[in-house]
């Protein structure tokens, strides 16, 4: 079993969603704490096992070996209890200080609002000094090396925001607003997943955090603030027309068009996102088409209905979606 677990621990480092693979200050603090406590506990367990084996073998031995006096047993047990008290006091203090180090500082550079819904993440970047607020979904961009404050809310049931490589998790509770400190030390794409059971598609409620150099981040912000591009390609243009004519527009917003629905994710720059439908599929024209053609088979129970489309319409709409960079 030891072999097995080390093997698994090593392989864990290739995944982008692991508490043992930290790339952000909070997650690094947490990993240190985790390793410390686990190591200490492993020692305690081994010690207890040694005592157990000794006790079992001793009792099996000859009767003449002489019994340990009750007094010595009492002393040993009391000592063990005293050690237990000391260790848990130490662990309590260690967790207290770790808690402090992962708290949200007043000075956070950026605040991003995340509103969870069944079963996707609405991400709101508030505009400052006159710049407009914009929305995206299931993908959060942050600058590396800065403290980011996430403001976590829920539109329906309890969800939990968890990107283990960057920070511990925090619930999103209807009627309340919670805070989480996020910080990435290295550029990269960090995957996270809803951790609180939230219904049928709790399993497919992933979120991507894209950490990039501040200059890249600034560029991204600028492009996201812009309205959707008008499609150049004729397929995409007829796709846009179909999109606006079909029920799609009732649920989705594409800024710069008449589509202003709010039930589903904002699609203004859907083509620029890594994945669609909360981490379900990589964003390609094919996957967009597959999703739009039959969302209920790909993600059973999700809140987007199947909208009947001809195959031409489907192709064009997918082309349009893909063009929304």
């Amino acid at each position: 079993m030891g072999l097995l677990s080390t093997g698994a621990l090593v392989s864990g480092c290739n995944g982008s969603q692991s508490a043992l693979n930290p790339y952000g200050a909070p997650a690094i603090h947490l990993e240190n704490l985790i390793i410390g406590i686990v190591a200490l506990s492993a020692m305690i367990w081994l010690l207890v096992m040694v005592m157990l084996v000794l006790a079992l073998r001793r009792g099996r031995g000859a009767e003449t070996e002489g019994r340990t006096s009750e007094g010595r047993l009492t002393m040993t047990v009391s000592a063990a209890v005293a050690v237990t008290v000391a260790i848990i006091a130490g662990m309590t203090i260690a967790s207290f200080f770790t808690t402090r180090s992962i708290g949200v500082p007043q000075s956070a550079a950026v605040t991003i609002t995340v509103r969870a819904q069944q079963w996707w993440w609405q991400v709101i970047y508030a505009g400052s000094d006159g710049t407009p607020t914009f929305q995206t979904a299931n993908e959060i961009h942050i600058p590396v090396g800065q403290d980011i404050r996430l403001q976590l809310e829920s539109a329906d049931v309890v969800h939990s925001f968890w990107v283990p490589s960057l920070a511990g998790k925090q619930d999103l509770v209807p009627g309340r607003s919670n805070d989480l400190l996020l910080r990435a030390e290295k550029p990269g794409i960090y995957r996270g997943q809803c951790a609180e059971f939230c219904g049928l598609q709790h399993s497919h409620m992933a979120v991507m955090v894209v950490a990039e150099a501040p200059s890249d981040y600034a560029r991204w912000i600028t492009s996201q603030r812009a309205d959707a591009m008008m499609p150049a390609d004729p397929d995409a243009a007829s796709g846009q027309a179909a999109f606006l004519a079909k029920p799609c527009a009732a649920c989705h917003t594409v800024r710069g068009t008449q589509a202003t629905g709010t039930t589903g994710p904002d699609l203004t720059h859907i083509g620029s996102r890594q994945t669609i439908a909360a981490g379900l599929l990589e964003t390609t024209r094919g996957s967009l088409a597959a999703w739009i053609a039959d969302p209920q088979t790909l993600k059973p129970g999700n809140n987007m209905p199947m909208v009947p489309l001809t195959s031409i319409e489907l192709q064009n709409i997918s082309a349009y979606m893909e063009s929304l960079k």
């Binding site: 692991s18 985790i34 406590i37 047990v77 209890v81 662990m91 998790k169 209807p174 399993s203 129970g301």
Partner: protein, 637 residues
């Protein structure tokens, strides 16, 4: 010698053994046939029934676990869809907690406590019968609902608003909430019976410091039940009200609060886990004492540890809500209190180790399960201490790490001792021994299968696998371990299967057991295996902690009880001095009728609030029938 007869009846004073047995049997036996089965109030028959039913639920819950493991063995598997999967894990958790683990522990107590304290029946025998029927009805409700695709699908702690009127249409969540009512009513009833039996029906001379540790553990457990279960009753009732008549307890839009549910649930839910664990601790103490051939080291310390655990249990509930967004400072308090539980837990482990150290262990199957318990429970306890740390928990809460933690403590900490206890008390329960060979095999399979199944879950959790997901994507690095876990689950299931086979086979054709096959020293072994309907022909008098430990010095006995009405002794709470003879009620069909009436009302009330009004009429009738004196000899004074 001549039997003493007076105005009211025949006393046992000086009566010949054969004559006494005949007379007591005539007074105490349950009548044969179906009517007898439905109206019996014998704690041994009811306890056995309870135990068997609970194990059936274990098997059913285990089958659900295997279905989950089948689905999770591969990424994006399609054996069951999300809707079924959600029902399955909710059923697995609810079934295991409410229909298996708590009832099975209380059931063992129903059977054993009256024997261990040396009395003839449990206090309030009719309530006991009622309790079983309620439990059975609750279990049937849940499983029939599941069979017709109305099984609850909101998790075993049914967080609002997911379980509320807005997001859980249909009756699934109501089934869950009402199943809670059934099982809590039955659990509360047993708790009251146990408390009163232990307080007032102990054999004369069994002062507080001579109560067997198992009985102590059941006493503390019963108080936990009494103080914790009202919280879940209120919570589930509020949920039903929110769903049925539009109250707003959990609706933030109208001044309700979502976290209120979590507080109420866990104020019950945390003590609940010790309600499962403490009886197991008592079983371990019994087994350790017998198979090391010496009393458990540190009796007083063990009792204090039980009580301390019970008290602390009410100060920990927030550790299930560390990431819900409560104030951090308050949470640190709950870290400290949760970790503090390690002190009484550790104390008990150390005392058992000291007992083994100073004793002469005999490696029979019950003791093997106890050794397995120590190995596994310490791991589970230590992971408990880990998740008790707020920052640590932010990474592992709601992941497979927690799933690993609680199976280590539930299966390792409670089911292992329980299986050991079944091997240990099986001769008392059935009059036959279980097979030592099969016992060793099933222990081996369960122990290794268990660790192979659940240890890797710790790693999965740290690798970011959340719990309660019906599937995961192939690009996640979890498929290998999940396949491994699922395959190991088969080994575990094989172990359980072997256990079931052994139990069923031995009950029919195992070697006949003597009264005290293990040379144990508590009172239940002082009577035949299985005990007669009246438990003890002559009630024992207790002069030391381990009444059977000294063969040369037989038990003292009581004389002067009537033989032609069901009579037992009432003793004082502290010293257990005899205070009165008391009659114990006889068989009655009314508990069953009352349970039927109550069940009808509870199920009906899922559909309309008026059920409470109209449904309470038959209940009242049944209760009057239950309590109205019938002129039995037991009613005389």
């Amino acid at each position: 010698m001549r039997a003493v007869a007076d105005r009211e009846g025949v006393r046992d004073t000086g009566m010949e053994a054969v004559e006494l047995d005949r007379r007591l049997a005539a007074t105490w036996s349950t009548p044969p046939g179906l009517w007898g089965a439905l109206s019996t109030v014998d704690h041994k028959i009811i306890g056995r029934r309870y135990i068997v039913t609970a194990f059936v639920f274990l098997a059913l819950g285990g089958v659900l676990a295997l279905l989950m493991r089948l689905q999770l063995a591969q990424p994006e598997a399609r054996f069951v869809g999300p809707d079924r999967y959600n029902q399955i894990f909710t059923m697995h958790g609810s079934n295991m907690m409410f229909l298996f683990a708590v009832p099975v522990m209380q059931a063992m107590a129903i059977y054993l406590v009256p024997l261990m304290v040396g009395t003839r029946n449990i206090a309030f025998p009719r309530l006991n019968a009622f309790s079983y029927w309620m439990y059975l009805a609750g279990g049937l409700l849940l499983w029939i609902a599941f069979a017709v695709d109305t099984g609850p699908d909101v998790g075993w702690f049914a967080y609002v608003p997911l379980s509320g009127p807005q997001y859980a249409a249909g009756k699934r969540a109501d089934i869950w909430a009402q199943m809670i009512t059934f099982t809590e009513v039955s659990a509360l009833a047993i708790a009251v019976e146990i408390v009163v039996t232990v307080f007032k029906q102990r054999a004369p001379g069994m002062s507080l410091d001579r109560i067997p540790l198992f009985v102590w553990s059941m006493l503390v457990t019963s108080f936990l039940v009494i103080l914790a279960m009202p919280a879940i009753m209120i919570a589930s009732t509020s949920l039903i009200l929110d769903r049925l008549v539009g109250t707003h307890f959990f609706n933030p839009a109208e001044g309700g609060d979502v976290l209120l549910w979590q507080h109420l649930f866990w104020f019950f839910g945390h003590p609940e886990v010790y309600i499962i664990f403490l009886p197991a601790v008592g079983m371990v103490s019994s087994i350790v004492a017998t198979f090391t051939q010496r009393p458990v080291f540190g009796y007083l310390a063990m009792v204090m540890a039980l009580i301390a655990t019970g008290v602390l249990a009410f100060g920990l509930w927030v550790h299930h809500m560390f990431v819900a967004g409560l104030p951090r400072l308050g949470e640190s308090f709950f870290t400290a209190s949760s970790m503090a539980i390690a002190v009484p837990a550790g104390l008990q482990i150390f005392c058992w180790l000291a007992t083994i150290w100073a004793g002469r262990p005999i490696f029979k199957t019950p003791f093997l399960f106890v050794i397995g318990f120590i190995v596994v429970f310490v791991i589970g306890g230590l992971t408990g201490v880990m998740v008790a740390s707020v920052p640590f928990d932010t990474q592992v809460h709601d992941t497979y790490f927690v799933v690993a933690h609680f199976h280590y403590v539930l299966v390792g900490g409670a089911v292992f001792p329980l299986l050991g206890a079944v091997y240990y008390w099986f001769p008392k329960l059935t009059g036959r021994m279980m097979s030592e060979t099969l016992g060793r095999w099933s222990f081996g399979l369960i122990f290794s299968g268990f660790n192979l199944t659940f240890f890797p879950m710790h790693i999965l959790g740290l690798q970011g696998m959340p719990r309660r997901i019906y599937t995961y994507q192939p690009e996640m690095p979890w498929s290998g371990l999940n396949m491994f876990i699922s395959l190991s689950g088969i080994v575990l299931a094989a172990g359980f299967l072997l256990f079931f086979i052994d139990a069923i086979r031995s009950a029919r054709s195992g070697p006949v057991a003597p009264a005290n096959p293990w040379g144990a020293s508590t009172l239940e072994w002082a009577t035949s295996s299985p005990p007669p309907s009246y438990n003890f022909a002559r009630l024992p008098v207790i002069e030391r902690l381990e009444p059977l430990s000294d063969r040369s010095d037989p038990l003292g006995i009581v004389e002067g009880l009537y033989t032609d009405r069901r009579e037992l002794l009432i003793t004082g709470v502290v010293e257990a001095r005899a205070q009165a003879r008391e009659s114990s009620v006889g068989s009655s069909i009314w508990p069953l009728l009352a349970a039927l009436a109550t069940s009808a009302m509870l199920i009906w009330s899922i559909f309309t609030p008026w059920a409470v009004v109209w449904g309470s009429i038959p209940i009242a009738v049944a209760l009057i029938g239950w309590f109205w004196p019938k002129g039995d000899p037991e009613d005389e004074t």
